[in-house]
Symmetry: C2
Subunit: 118 residues, 2 copies
Protein backbone atom coordinates (compact mmCIF):
# COMPACT_ATOMS: atom_id res chain seq x y z
CA UNK A 1 0.00 0.00 0.00
CA UNK A 2 2.59 2.61 0.87
CA UNK A 3 5.70 1.93 -1.14
CA UNK A 4 4.21 2.25 -4.58
CA UNK A 5 6.75 4.36 -6.40
CA UNK A 6 4.17 7.08 -6.86
CA UNK A 7 3.60 7.31 -3.15
CA UNK A 8 5.64 10.49 -2.92
CA UNK A 9 2.66 12.31 -1.51
CA UNK A 10 2.78 10.46 1.76
CA UNK A 11 6.51 10.93 1.89
CA UNK A 12 6.17 14.66 2.08
CA UNK A 13 6.08 14.19 5.78
CA UNK A 14 9.38 12.43 6.23
CA UNK A 15 10.97 14.45 3.49
CA UNK A 16 12.99 17.53 3.17
CA UNK A 17 14.53 18.32 6.49
CA UNK A 18 17.82 20.20 6.12
CA UNK A 19 20.74 17.87 5.53
CA UNK A 20 22.82 19.19 8.38
CA UNK A 21 20.09 19.12 11.00
CA UNK A 22 20.02 15.43 11.73
CA UNK A 23 21.49 12.40 10.09
CA UNK A 24 19.31 11.07 7.30
CA UNK A 25 17.78 7.66 7.83
CA UNK A 26 18.11 5.09 5.11
CA UNK A 27 14.47 5.53 4.14
CA UNK A 28 14.69 9.30 4.03
CA UNK A 29 17.83 9.07 1.94
CA UNK A 30 16.19 6.79 -0.59
CA UNK A 31 13.16 9.03 -0.80
CA UNK A 32 15.22 12.18 -1.20
CA UNK A 33 17.50 10.54 -3.75
CA UNK A 34 14.45 9.92 -5.92
CA UNK A 35 13.69 13.63 -5.97
CA UNK A 36 17.21 14.69 -6.80
CA UNK A 37 17.35 11.86 -9.32
CA UNK A 38 14.48 13.50 -11.14
CA UNK A 39 16.60 16.64 -11.32
CA UNK A 40 19.76 14.89 -12.44
CA UNK A 41 19.05 14.78 -16.15
CA UNK A 42 19.75 17.69 -18.54
CA UNK A 43 16.59 17.07 -20.56
CA UNK A 44 14.41 17.06 -17.46
CA UNK A 45 16.06 20.22 -16.15
CA UNK A 46 15.39 22.07 -19.39
CA UNK A 47 11.89 20.63 -19.39
CA UNK A 48 11.25 21.85 -15.86
CA UNK A 49 12.72 25.21 -16.76
CA UNK A 50 10.37 25.49 -19.73
CA UNK A 51 7.37 24.56 -17.61
CA UNK A 52 8.31 26.80 -14.69
CA UNK A 53 8.71 29.73 -17.05
CA UNK A 54 5.04 29.57 -18.07
CA UNK A 55 1.73 29.16 -16.33
CA UNK A 56 1.02 26.01 -18.26
CA UNK A 57 2.76 24.04 -20.97
CA UNK A 58 1.32 21.36 -23.24
CA UNK A 59 3.30 18.13 -23.72
CA UNK A 60 3.10 18.80 -27.42
CA UNK A 61 5.03 22.02 -26.87
CA UNK A 62 7.98 20.18 -25.36
CA UNK A 63 9.05 17.81 -28.10
CA UNK A 64 10.30 20.60 -30.35
CA UNK A 65 12.41 22.64 -27.94
CA UNK A 66 13.86 19.58 -26.25
CA UNK A 67 14.52 17.68 -29.46
CA UNK A 68 13.30 14.36 -28.12
CA UNK A 69 10.76 11.84 -29.30
CA UNK A 70 7.23 11.75 -27.94
CA UNK A 71 7.76 8.62 -25.81
CA UNK A 72 10.85 10.17 -24.31
CA UNK A 73 8.98 13.35 -23.43
CA UNK A 74 6.26 11.26 -21.82
CA UNK A 75 8.89 9.33 -19.89
CA UNK A 76 10.44 12.50 -18.47
CA UNK A 77 7.18 14.22 -17.56
CA UNK A 78 6.27 11.09 -15.66
CA UNK A 79 9.46 11.16 -13.61
CA UNK A 80 9.12 14.85 -12.82
CA UNK A 81 5.50 14.42 -11.78
CA UNK A 82 6.23 11.37 -9.66
CA UNK A 83 8.79 13.50 -7.85
CA UNK A 84 6.04 16.04 -7.23
CA UNK A 85 7.90 18.76 -9.11
CA UNK A 86 5.22 19.20 -11.78
CA UNK A 87 1.54 18.40 -12.01
CA UNK A 88 -0.49 17.57 -15.07
CA UNK A 89 -4.08 17.93 -16.15
CA UNK A 90 -5.61 16.34 -19.20
CA UNK A 91 -7.97 18.59 -21.11
CA UNK A 92 -9.33 17.09 -24.28
CA UNK A 93 -6.48 15.42 -26.06
CA UNK A 94 -3.83 17.62 -24.55
CA UNK A 95 -1.85 17.21 -21.38
CA UNK A 96 -1.11 20.47 -19.60
CA UNK A 97 1.75 20.70 -17.13
CA UNK A 98 2.58 23.23 -14.49
CA UNK A 99 5.34 23.52 -11.93
CA UNK A 100 4.71 23.07 -8.18
CA UNK A 101 6.43 26.01 -6.46
CA UNK A 102 5.76 24.68 -2.98
CA UNK A 103 7.50 21.45 -3.82
CA UNK A 104 10.47 23.24 -5.36
CA UNK A 105 10.87 25.37 -2.26
CA UNK A 106 10.55 22.30 -0.09
CA UNK A 107 13.35 20.57 -1.94
CA UNK A 108 15.45 23.73 -1.83
CA UNK A 109 15.14 23.75 1.93
CA UNK A 110 16.86 20.36 2.10
CA UNK A 111 20.03 22.08 0.98
CA UNK A 112 19.59 25.27 2.92
CA UNK A 113 22.69 25.62 5.02
CA UNK A 114 22.38 25.81 8.82
CA UNK A 115 22.21 29.58 8.39
CA UNK A 116 24.90 32.14 9.32
CA UNK A 117 26.21 29.92 12.08
CA UNK A 118 24.65 32.15 14.67
Amino acid sequence: MPTSRIAIDSSLVSCCSPLGDSELSEAEAVETALIFGALSDPVRLRMLSLIASEDEVCSCALEGPLGKSQPTISHHTRILSEAGLIEGEKRGRWMWWHAVPDRLNQVARILAAPLPTS
Copy 2:
Protein backbone atom coordinates in the same frame (compact mmCIF):
# COMPACT_ATOMS: atom_id res chain seq x y z
CA MET B 1 39.13 34.29 -12.40
CA PRO B 2 36.44 35.93 -10.29
CA THR B 3 34.97 33.29 -8.04
CA SER B 4 37.95 31.04 -7.54
CA ARG B 5 37.30 29.63 -4.13
CA ILE B 6 36.42 26.13 -5.14
CA ALA B 7 37.90 24.04 -7.88
CA ILE B 8 34.68 24.31 -9.82
CA ASP B 9 35.32 27.95 -10.62
CA SER B 10 34.36 27.91 -14.26
CA SER B 11 31.05 26.22 -13.66
CA LEU B 12 29.99 28.58 -10.93
CA VAL B 13 29.45 31.24 -13.51
CA SER B 14 27.02 29.43 -15.74
CA CYS B 15 25.42 27.67 -12.84
CA CYS B 16 22.59 28.12 -10.51
CA SER B 17 20.18 30.68 -11.85
CA PRO B 18 16.60 29.96 -10.77
CA LEU B 19 14.90 27.45 -13.03
CA GLY B 20 11.93 29.62 -13.82
CA ASP B 21 13.83 32.77 -14.60
CA SER B 22 15.07 31.92 -18.05
CA GLU B 23 15.20 28.76 -20.07
CA LEU B 24 18.28 26.69 -19.32
CA SER B 25 20.79 26.31 -22.11
CA GLU B 26 22.01 22.88 -22.97
CA ALA B 27 25.37 23.57 -21.34
CA GLU B 28 23.80 24.94 -18.16
CA ALA B 29 21.51 21.92 -18.00
CA VAL B 30 24.40 19.50 -18.28
CA GLU B 31 26.34 21.37 -15.64
CA THR B 32 23.40 21.51 -13.25
CA ALA B 33 22.51 17.88 -13.84
CA LEU B 34 25.96 16.91 -12.62
CA ILE B 35 25.33 18.66 -9.31
CA PHE B 36 21.94 17.08 -8.76
CA GLY B 37 23.38 13.78 -9.92
CA ALA B 38 25.79 13.96 -7.02
CA LEU B 39 22.76 14.31 -4.75
CA SER B 40 20.78 11.51 -6.36
CA ASP B 41 22.27 8.62 -4.43
CA PRO B 42 21.10 7.53 -0.97
CA VAL B 43 24.61 6.75 0.22
CA ARG B 44 25.92 10.14 -0.86
CA LEU B 45 22.99 11.92 0.78
CA ARG B 46 23.62 10.20 4.08
CA MET B 47 27.32 10.88 3.64
CA LEU B 48 26.69 14.58 3.04
CA SER B 49 24.33 14.64 5.98
CA LEU B 50 26.99 13.13 8.20
CA ILE B 51 29.60 15.61 7.02
CA ALA B 52 27.31 18.62 7.23
CA SER B 53 26.42 17.70 10.80
CA GLU B 54 29.99 18.12 11.94
CA ASP B 55 32.77 20.61 11.45
CA GLU B 56 34.98 17.96 9.93
CA VAL B 57 34.71 14.26 9.26
CA CYS B 58 37.46 11.80 8.46
CA SER B 59 36.94 9.36 5.59
CA CYS B 60 37.66 6.60 8.03
CA ALA B 61 34.62 7.67 10.04
CA LEU B 62 32.27 7.12 7.10
CA GLU B 63 32.76 3.45 6.27
CA GLY B 64 31.11 2.26 9.45
CA PRO B 65 27.93 4.35 9.49
CA LEU B 66 27.36 3.98 5.76
CA GLY B 67 28.14 0.27 5.62
CA LYS B 68 30.15 0.48 2.45
CA SER B 69 33.64 -0.64 1.48
CA GLN B 70 36.58 1.75 1.51
CA PRO B 71 36.79 2.09 -2.30
CA THR B 72 33.09 2.86 -2.43
CA ILE B 73 33.45 5.59 0.19
CA SER B 74 36.34 7.07 -1.76
CA HIS B 75 34.25 6.95 -4.91
CA HIS B 76 31.39 8.87 -3.32
CA THR B 77 33.53 11.51 -1.61
CA ARG B 78 35.10 12.17 -4.97
CA ILE B 79 31.74 12.76 -6.66
CA LEU B 80 30.52 15.05 -3.88
CA SER B 81 33.74 17.06 -3.96
CA GLU B 82 33.72 17.33 -7.74
CA ALA B 83 30.26 18.80 -7.43
CA GLY B 84 31.67 21.34 -5.01
CA LEU B 85 29.41 20.19 -2.20
CA ILE B 86 32.24 19.10 0.08
CA GLU B 87 35.92 19.92 0.32
CA GLY B 88 38.71 17.73 1.59
CA GLU B 89 42.06 18.29 3.19
CA LYS B 90 44.66 15.63 3.71
CA ARG B 91 46.42 15.80 7.04
CA GLY B 92 48.91 13.04 7.61
CA ARG B 93 47.30 9.82 6.52
CA TRP B 94 43.79 11.03 7.06
CA MET B 95 41.45 12.80 4.72
CA TRP B 96 39.19 15.35 6.41
CA TRP B 97 35.99 16.48 4.75
CA HIS B 98 33.75 19.44 5.42
CA ALA B 99 30.59 20.71 3.74
CA VAL B 100 30.52 23.88 1.65
CA PRO B 101 27.50 25.89 2.87
CA ASP B 102 27.86 28.53 0.15
CA ARG B 103 27.63 25.87 -2.50
CA LEU B 104 24.61 24.23 -0.87
CA ASN B 105 22.81 27.56 -0.74
CA GLN B 106 23.74 28.25 -4.31
CA VAL B 107 22.23 24.97 -5.44
CA ALA B 108 19.16 25.58 -3.31
CA ARG B 109 18.61 28.85 -5.11
CA ILE B 110 18.25 26.99 -8.40
CA LEU B 111 15.01 25.59 -7.09
CA ALA B 112 13.79 28.70 -5.34
CA ALA B 113 10.42 29.40 -6.84
CA PRO B 114 9.68 32.80 -8.41
CA LEU B 115 8.02 34.10 -5.28
CA PRO B 116 4.73 32.20 -5.16
CA THR B 117 3.08 33.09 -1.87
CA SER B 118 -0.13 33.89 -3.68
